[in-house]
Symmetry: C3
Subunit: 353 residues, 3 copies
């Protein structure tokens, strides 16, 4: 392990250190090993993973290519450890594993686990690592996925950890699939104007996506949100530091005519402290046919799903609404990520479609 700027032996110090100080700790053999926060994705890695995902899609156009991919990790096992309800992220990761042939074991219901017998989270993770070769985890607790990777990397049986959503903040593979979708439908992210809409304060997807923008050139962001759910200052500071122009508005309609992509989000009322969601009129931040009329023909509408009323089902027929294709992109970019973690990029890219 390379020399790090942070004290690895002290968890509290480690956790508090900035991501940039920890990047090396979560790499191995010259590449990403644990995927924990979106700050780990630089431009080169984003391009590599998106290209790999595209290539994997083309390889699976034939049955032989499909079988080739499924043979790559058929001798490996993955654990899906999800302590939070999540159909979509769960199935997406499981499908990604299946594409590469990984056997999957799942722990979803904490009542069936040894935690009821008073086992520490560290021991639970080490136990998983005894049986599997990859841990994909979603946890309600902030930093839990990072702690898992920290614990395993210091044990005699490390296995890679993929954070599938941890606490209120980090959901790196979601950010990755969002960028991948932007690249696919806009032909790239450089120079684009992206409008993020809705509950920006509490939505971790818009936060992670904003972080990733530093990897692209000449991107402009517009945050359209009710004042109570405006984007947090930490993200705005981040954008200023990286010279990424942005504006804030409460008037979605003015932002649409100039947008290349509209990233919609639902209200995150599960994070309400005292009924604040009910006090907000969210309807100005819903799409409808009038607003779709304001949006350029080349633009796309994204949404991390699940949605409520912010994109009515009547709009699904509009080709600019790509939310279910975006969802499917998630499966492919996660398959690419896992392939990368296991060092399979070159073998896959060498395979002719």
């Amino acid at each position: 392990m390379n020399a790090l700027a942070v004290d690895v032996a002290n968890w509290d110090a480690f956790l508090a250190a900035p991501p940039s100080d920890k990047l090396e700790f979560f790499r191995k053999d010259g590449r990403l090993y644990d995927c924990l926060f979106s700050q780990q994705f630089d431009r080169a890695l984003i391009d590599r993973l998106c290209g790999l995902a595209d290539h994997m899609r083309s390889v699976t156009k034939t049955r032989a290519g499909d079988d080739f991919l499924r043979g790559l990790l058929s001798h490996r096992r993955a654990m899906l450890y999800f302590s939070q309800p999540s159909t979509r992220t769960f199935l997406s990761h499981m499908s990604a594993c299946h594409i590469l042939g990984l056997k999957v074991m799942e722990i979803r219901d904490l009542k069936t686990s040894s935690e009821v017998k008073g086992e520490s989270q560290d021991d639970t993770i080490r136990t998983f690592a005894s049986y599997v070769d990859l841990i994909i985890m979603r946890h309600h607790g902030a930093g839990v996925a990072e702690r898992a990777a920290w614990t395993l990397n210091r044990s005699d049986r490390p296995v890679p950890v993929v954070n599938a959503g941890s606490g209120a903040d980090q959901h790196p593979t979601q950010a990755l699939l969002d960028v991948y979708s932007l690249k696919r439908y806009l032909g790239g992210v450089d120079g684009k104007h992206i409008v993020m809409v809705g509950d920006l304060k509490r939505g971790r997807t818009v936060r992670s996506l904003s972080y990733l923008m530093k990897n692209f050139k000449d991107v402009r962001l517009t945050f359209a949100a009710p004042p109570a759910f405006a984007m947090n200052p930490d993200i705005l500071d981040f954008l200023r530091r990286h010279g990424i122009p942005f504006s804030e508005t409460t008037d979605l309609d003015t932002a649409l005519p100039d947008a290349d992509a509209v990233y919609m989000t639902r209200i995150q009322d599960e994070h309400d402290q005292g009924g604040e969601s009910a006090k907000v009129d969210y309807s100005p931040f819903h799409l409808n046919s009038l607003r779709m009329g304001l949006l350029p023909k080349h633009a796309v509408v994204l949404h991390p799903l699940p949605r409520r009323e912010e994109i009515p089902a009547e709009l699904d027929g509009d080709p600019r609404v790509v939310v279910f294709r975006q969802e499917r992109n998630g499966m492919w970019i996660r398959a690419a990520l896992i392939a990368h973690i296991f060092g399979l990029d070159d073998a896959i890219l060498a395979r002719k479609p």
Copy 2:
């Protein structure tokens, strides 16, 4: 899609339309695509599926044949989406998938799904379709499986839907396995006398099986039930319209000596509105050694399981009680059904056992 007699764009009108008007909508490439109600099974399809199931069984007598079948859909994934408790139907479908090599993902506990975040059932189904190639679903709500197929067939990513029990009425693969069992143990269904026993009013298996009888010649039915749980008039009307002779009785003993098959059912007290099950003496509709003595030697006793007292375990040694073999037939006929949906019939039938 062929011209249909029903307005596909209007769900309420579509749902209310008779099955015969919708058959084409649930077919693709000249064959069954979504399996939703037993009215979709005509004689040719029943014979085809039963023959295919028999052939698959013989193919798996060798390891090479087993591997051949498992290779057919090893590049495909299925979703088992079960919102109702069901061990048997769940395992049977999962095993059927395994026989053909399908990877299986399961959603059983609605608490772990995105429904808790307010997602519509349509979006949940479309999400499944993003990741898998087949959806097998059991739902407490009537018409939910049909709605899923309706939604997907109108989307840009349709995948086939198999109804594994929907609401109080439809459970088409159960009807299929019952007919398959009759064919296997009686050498065919034409000309047979079938006695259905028990809670006929609320048992969906006896209702579906009765519908399927129109595909066979010279079948006679006897319904032996307590008056409170007699077969509903809609089924009796159906039989009259199709010229299928039937009789009703409260005296099981008189029906047995002439039976080719006895189809037993348990009391469906989970559907009680106000304790009506407790008011009925169900014991005259239980089998026992005396009644087995009334039954011809060639006859068979079927039951959809789970059973309670209506077939005492002491009778399991009687070779006419084929209920666990019937259960296993379900796995095979479902494997045949899935193979048919994926257009694999000819490839399988061409394979020498």
Copy 3:
């Protein structure tokens, strides 16, 4: 089936009979078929299984060997039926199945099963046997796994049953992995001094391990426990009958300097009748760095996990604490056990690593 000393037709008599009278009933084709209690393991079988596990590990050092093992049972399906919370044992068995290529189906949440419809346990088990080729089960009820094997062996579709923990007493595969760990880290069990520590009264692992000691020569046991949780007289009687020397103590420190292995256990407070665990000072039966100083360098510390305070995490860096390697041994010895049940020993041992 060979003549047995016990009446097979009568369950109560069968259950009450001593294990030695039932060994033949749970064997088939000259080898173990159902694995239910640790009395089924004799020295030859223990040595065979441990050798097989070692060999399987070496075979999987290459990808070709890995694929070879996974091909052996890729045409078979296993059921994991766990009515009790257990992450570790569940994952360990599932991984063992995956190593041999078995497809796995799981029933963990009894609310999703047919038991809610009043099905008997016998029928549930027979249903599982309709679909799978192996049943691995953990149940809170004593004798339930034995009943399952008894039911199936008398049916026309027996499949082997592996007891993954049944009631308060039997957990044979845990005992097997403990012995396997002793063999691996001590170079054998003959002549060793094993110190068992903690809640010996209610811990089934120490009970099973004590039974297995009769297969080895010159073993000495020390039981270090608080008086309230001392080893039960039935085990002490067993040891006396088999001439295995043992001593009891409440002073762990005096036992450590002479130990080859220390088998730690947690307090089993889930079995409390009336708060008895809280009345005991368990700290004299915890390891710490002082006590590790008393332990010989060659000795090992085992624990069935999950642990609480009895082995503080600070000691994990000590190479003598092998508890997570022990856990992984469980996966391998279970894979060996399943391979043995399916008669694959010779094919595997013939495979060069």
